[in-house]
């Protein structure tokens, strides 16, 4: 197909071993014209070293406050094909599993009404349909929703929850990450589609402390599977690892952060009371070691990107919670947290920032959680703490 614009810079990026996004954009010119102008606009950006997109206006589908990111070019006259170039965030199925039929269903709709370009997936987890115009939004939504798909979150709302593959294909999943993710998503549809929070709220669910969904770094609530009880050891398999050439002392025992493991050249012993369940030994000796038998999750709260007062990682607010459907204890906690955040949060204040501003103890009291040493790496160092009326002798 003939090129609409000369793109020498972009052409350079078609070379090389790694699959090329330029090639993808070029492919998309076959089903719609958006991609042609996108190539032109992008070549311009590469030349000028600056973006040519403007702030998003408010666009969306009827009855929803989110799910679409409005996007307009700042040089629409030169590249009319991408004058509008909105993205549609389609809520992915938990665990990112698809069938070929499902994918083709999406493709059919998207070739008809959009650029044909996607992100599989966006950083939050959505199946992102990349680039369409305002008029196409309602048709796309009708086509999608009538086939069982729905939009994800955007704006000051619950954002699309996501999770690691979990029990579907991982031997270490202490919790059913996909079931939890699906349940939260379904239970809080209203909170996702009609922004009414102080700011965004993200959920990510990982089956174990490997955290293959990076939940601790980028979810307002991180749910991470873990266990109680002794790590299960299969000493025969330990011997096999040794036979296979693993230096168990150096690679496992010496790297255990709590130094709670021993190896006598034959068998591994673990002082489980001192294990902090970091997953190192289990991950490196998957055939020999398995998590303890009582399974559940640690709930952590608060992570976010650095803007504005510095990044946060989520931190422990519930050391151990059983995770059985229908996950009532979890939902109850979420409700209490949202209520407290709603009441006290300022506009554009993430829940972690709010807790920082008002104090972690205030949060604990506000959502009725008992203080526990697992919530902190160390107690406070200064002698400035508050007391309540009932602590005071009159």
């Amino acid at each position: 197909m003939a090129k609409k614009y000369d793109t020498p810079m972009l052409d350079e990026l078609k070379k090389g071993a790694f699959p090329s996004f330029i090639t993808e954009i070029e492919k998309a010119t076959e089903t719609a014209d958006y991609a042609k102008d996108l190539l032109g606009l992008l070549e311009r950006s590469f030349n000028e070293k600056k973006t040519h997109w403007k702030h998003g206006g408010i666009v969306g589908v009827r009855g929803y406050g989110g799910g679409v990111i409005g996007r307009y070019s700042d040089i629409p006259d030169e590249f009319p094909g991408v004058a509008h170039f909105h993205t549609v965030r389609v809520n992915q199925p938990s665990g990112f599993f698809y069938t070929s039929d499902a994918l083709r269903e999406i493709c059919d709709i998207w070739e008809k009404y959009g650029s044909g370009l996607t992100n599989m997936h966006g950083s939050t987890g959505d199946l992102v349909l990349l680039g369409t115009n305002t008029e196409s939004l309602e048709p796309i939504f009708a086509e999608l929703s009538s086939r069982g798909w729905d939009l994800g979150g955007s704006g000051s709302a619950m954002r699309t929850p996501s999770c690691c593959v979990g029990q579907a294909r991982c031997e270490w999943a202490n919790i059913d990450t996909m079931a939890i993710t699906n349940e939260i998503t379904q239970h809080y549809q209203d909170e996702m589609h009609r922004p009414m929070f102080p700011y965004k709220f993200k959920f990510k669910v990982a089956g174990c402390a490997c955290d293959c969904i990076a939940s601790i770094a980028r979810a307002d609530m991180s749910i991470i599977g873990t266990w109680k009880g002794d790590i299960q050891i299969d000493q025969k398999e330990v011997a096999n690892y040794a036979k296979g050439g693993m230096d168990i002392q150096a690679e496992i025992i010496d790297m255990c952060p709590t130094q709670c493991m021993g190896y006598d050249g034959k068998a591994i012993s673990i002082n489980n009371e001192h294990c902090n369940r970091c997953m190192h030994c289990i991950a490196k000796m998957t055939k020999a070691l398995k998590p303890g038998k009582e399974r559940g999750a640690t709930i952590l709260l608060g992570s976010k990107a650095p803007i504005v007062t510095g990044a946060l990682l989520s931190w422990v607010i519930v050391p151990f919670m059983k995770m059985e459907p229908p996950f009532e204890e979890l939902k109850d906690l979420i409700d209490r947290i949202w209520e407290w955040w709603d009441e006290h949060g300022k506009n554009r204040e993430r829940v972690g920032e709010l807790i920082e501003r008002l104090g972690f103890p205030t949060f604990l009291k506000g959502v009725d959680l008992e203080p526990h040493p697992a919530m902190v790496t160390e107690p406070r160092r200064d002698p400035f703490f508050f007391w309540s009326e009932e602590d005071i002798e009159k």
């Binding site: 071993a17 996004f21 600056k50 599993f97 070929s100 069982g148 402390a209 770094a217 997953m279 055939k287």
Partner: protein
């Protein structure tokens, strides 16, 4: 539009069970262990003895429907149509019938798919929109990823690194991704303050929220113009005001560029999750291949590979040897920008007499 089907609302995504291969449904939660067969192939074995083979290929994340259709066809041929994407945007073909694995691998290779990313290697680069779609981008994302991964592809398809090495790119300091907790990551940064378009501010922006948006209180109202002023020496170019008020454009092609941060991670193995720390504050944007950036990434990676112990992540290695040694052996310059002066600066001061010469 009358031929449109009837819309539904708040139905949520399709239930995942619809998309699970039967062997997964059967052995759900009952996997026993897994084995890496090669950089791109691994097998999970269930307690029942059942197996599922995963064949992983790289993806640029921006995928045209044509590519999705091609992958779907391949999945039909070898995987009964079952396919998934990873949390780092790779594509995984899920093979239930072991005998089909070799054919699948061959066809993928023939079609120039890049197999790999499993194990102690470099996997896909988590990244963002960049000049392809975002108004906020100080650099491109997909372009940077392509430039870097072309250089490092052997670490995806073959060579091992001491531990997993997670790369990420964010096109601005909003950091839509996990740049702030990645082994080596790039982030687009500005170096100059936003311009103030008085006329447009009057119409487009709310003055109080614009003033409030600035983390360093650099912005104050300018009542005469019904606009705002910036105290230049207080601005650290975060662009938060621009997010709130579009009439304060911050893009500046000559001075926008890329910062490199290193040593972050999210897994809890051995050591606690870590934030990435600043290694290089600024490298100019030099598209389409950003050679200075890829050189710097390679230099850091090579030094890590040479120095780290087995299983040690980049951040674990740096913390073991000390940041002062990191600057020493990488030869990177330690500049005034490396010295923290933000919210929690105090915790980074060397409150000890111990460091390496």
């Amino acid at each position: 539009m009358s031929d449109l089907p009837e819309r539904q609302t708040d139905i949520g995504p399709p239930h995942y069970e619809k998309f699970l291969p039967p062997v997964i449904k059967k052995n759900y939660g009952k996997w026993a262990y897994h084995e890496e067969k090669s950089a791109g192939v691994m097998v999970h074995v269930a307690e029942s003895g059942d197996k599922i083979t995963t064949v992983r290929v790289a993806s640029p994340r921006i995928l045209a429907t044509q590519s999705l259709r091609e992958m779907s066809e391949i999945a039909d041929k070898y995987c009964d149509g079952y396919i998934r994407f990873t949390t780092r945007n790779n594509v995984e073909f899920l093979v239930s019938d072991e005998s089909k694995v070799d054919g699948l691998v061959k066809e993928l290779k023939d079609k120039k798919y890049m197999l790999g990313g499993i194990g102690s290697r470099i996997s896909n680069v988590v990244h963002t929109q960049g000049w392809v779609h975002c108004h906020s981008a100080a650099t491109d994302a997909s372009g940077l990823v392509k430039a870097i991964m072309d250089e490092l592809s052997e670490y995806f398809t073959d060579k091992e690194t001491p531990a997993k090495v997670r790369l990420a790119v964010a096109c601005c300091v909003n950091m839509c991704g996990a740049v702030h907790c990645s082994d080596i990551a790039l982030v687009g940064v500005h170096k100059t303050a936003p311009r103030i378009l008085d006329e447009e501010i009057k119409n487009m922006c709310e003055i109080p929220s614009t003033v409030a948006s600035c983390p360093t209180s650099a912005i104050s109202p300018n009542p005469k113009e019904k606009s705002v002023k910036i105290k230049l020496e207080k601005c650290m170019y975060c662009g938060n005001c621009y997010s709130v008020c579009p009439a304060m454009p911050i893009a500046d092609p000559k001075n926008d560029g890329v910062a490199i941060v290193v040593g972050g991670k999210v897994a809890n193995l051995r050591t606690v999750p870590k934030f990435s720390k600043l290694a290089i504050p600024w490298i100019p944007n030099n598209p389409p291949r950003w050679p200075e950036v890829t050189d710097a990434v390679k230099k850091i990676l090579d030094t890590y590979i040479a120095g780290a112990m087995k299983h040690e992540r980049v951040g674990e290695w740096v913390e073991r040897i000390g940041w002062e040694k990191f600057f020493d052996i990488t030869g990177l310059e330690f500049k005034i920008q490396h010295v923290d002066d933000f919210t929690f600066a105090r915790e980074t001061f060397r409150m000890a007499a111990t460091f390496k010469h």
